[in-house]
Symmetry: C2
């Protein structure tokens, strides 16, 4: 039987590059798509006119399928979808919101729609709203995160028993071995974020990329739970957040500390102490900045190597 994710998107490898704010521009997206994965532009940090520019540049840079990730909480989502439809984009991942709001509209324009979730309830909502596939993202993932704190190891089997939709696992997946584990748990494919932030083509600031290489075990932490849970690197900004949280701060206090442009400051402009650095636990497993195509090829090679080993594993 063919791979449901590779078939759905017309790609070679069932590996999606997450559409992340400040990191996933046309360079990364086209590099991943050219190498046989599915690249996603991260619209969450793009003004509509910037998104339009990235879509056009991406089209010039690849003839392979690529898509756009749109977090539904942003204010100018309508304008973003206008552009996406006008530019003839055929793959959209929606996240951080309700899948029922946009799925029907997008599908009427012949768009394949995937929604990102972190719990069973949202998976059921996805099924009702008619999405083509689901990304289920565990607690170890970078950036915005579910309130249930369900990890990838628990979440994937839970979602697999909830729905028969094509399922993409995310959270903690940065190597061929973790891809193998995700497939073992019942996923059809994987979405990879952190590993691609640390790629040559990502638009993350070099100082941020360096911080990823340095982040070891326990180097990230889920914070801002009273506002929206987000996984961050432990830098000065994180410690300020943590101190406030420890003393029982209100959501308003936290929002005030966060202010505006904090993620851009850290991830795009490279202020690694006062900026917000969103990355997953998998950062601890990342030891090099590589071209995105090489990352993909390494993952597939390690997947096949580990699968062979697993075939030879003896119980006794």
């Amino acid at each position: 039987m063919n791979n449901r994710i590779s078939s759905l998107f017309g790609i070679k490898f069932p590996i999606i590059q997450a559409g992340m704010i400040w990191c996933s521009g046309w360079k990364l997206t086209s590099a991943v798509s050219n190498a046989g994965g599915l690249g996603l532009l991260g619209a969450g940090s793009m003004e509509p006119i910037i998104l339009e520019e990235h879509i056009r540049k991406c089209k010039n840079a690849t003839s392979k399928p690529f898509g756009v990730n749109v977090p539904l909480i942003y204010s100018r989502v309508d304008e973003q979808f206008d552009i996406i439809i006008r530019e003839g984009i055929k793959i959209v991942f929606t996240s951080a919101g309700n899948p029922t709001t946009w799925t029907t509209v997008l599908k009427q324009h012949g768009i394949t729609v995937v929604h990102v979730i972190a719990n069973v309830k949202s998976a059921l909502k996805c099924e009702q709203s008619g999405v083509d596939a689901i990304v289920a993202e565990g607690f170890e993932a970078g950036g915005h995160n579910g309130k249930e704190e369900t990890t990838t190891m628990t979440l994937i089997p839970l979602i697999r028993q909830t729905t028969n939709l094509p399922l993409i696992a995310a959270g903690g997946i940065a190597t061929g071995r973790s891809m193998l584990a995700a497939i073992a748990l019942g996923a059809d494919g994987v979405q990879v974020g952190s590993r691609f932030v640390a790629s040559e083509e990502s638009s993350a600031h070099p100082a941020f990329k360096q911080k990823i290489l340095e982040a070891g075990d326990g180097g990230t932490f889920l914070s801002m739970k009273k506002v929206v849970p987000v996984r961050l690197i432990r830098n000065s900004f994180f410690h300020q957040v943590h101190k406030l949280e420890d003393s029982g701060a209100s959501p308003e206090d936290l929002k005030e500390l966060l202010g505006r442009g904090r993620a851009k400051l850290g991830m795009f402009e490279g202020d690694t102490e006062d900026g917000e650095l969103e990355i997953g636990q998998a950062a601890a497993l990342i030891a090099s900045i590589l071209p995105a195509g090489e990352i993909l090829n390494e993952m597939i090679a390690e997947f096949e190597h580990a699968r062979k080993e697993l075939g030879e594993y003896r119980i006794s």
Copy 2:
């Protein structure tokens, strides 16, 4: 090559039943060992004289290898080890403490020593102290938990690249599929806790077992982080803890709320609202109370089935 965990303990399946407080008495331990896994008595909730009784009853109930789990933080650890040595126990798992304190002494008595960890730093300490194997336990696990909050998906590859010691994965493992995922990540075997709490032979109160069946996605939460992180079922006691934490309570406030005997009250005496119910996220995947031997056989059958499927998985 033979399985390093099965060989180390002289067992049939590389599945360890976690030695859990209030749940792992001689009935569960002997049932697991008789069925081909490794049963562990949970000494953490036993007065020394009770431990002695359970060891003797377990010896009568099985001729197969079994062991004892000793959390090193308890006050009467010396007496427990005296009994363990006197009774000729040959397998000890230590947890919640420093592996250097007891490993040499135990090994001088011909005991195979395994230590439970949740981070890279402790894995290195295990190697230096000469333990025979490591249990690496992720954030999704029930009960006491690491401060780093590293999930099984991230922790296992991290520990695998840190040490070549035989490695047992724990946290979120309740089925053959999650066992397969853990092995794919680099573990040699698995330790299973929650699934065995929900067994016929466990000494958990029937009302607690029922709560496990009812716990869905997000049904547990990591709490008491300012004292020692512990994963609990969301009941009245949990909500009191959570409220205190949200308002910035001190460790002393939390300890006062916890009081004494709270875990016994919930897990052993069956007060599922005011008691402390320690269980892992995998509870969401548990739908039946079964004999421990049946749980083991189901896990192995599902493991082999899922491994066969994984062999047939197509990337394109």
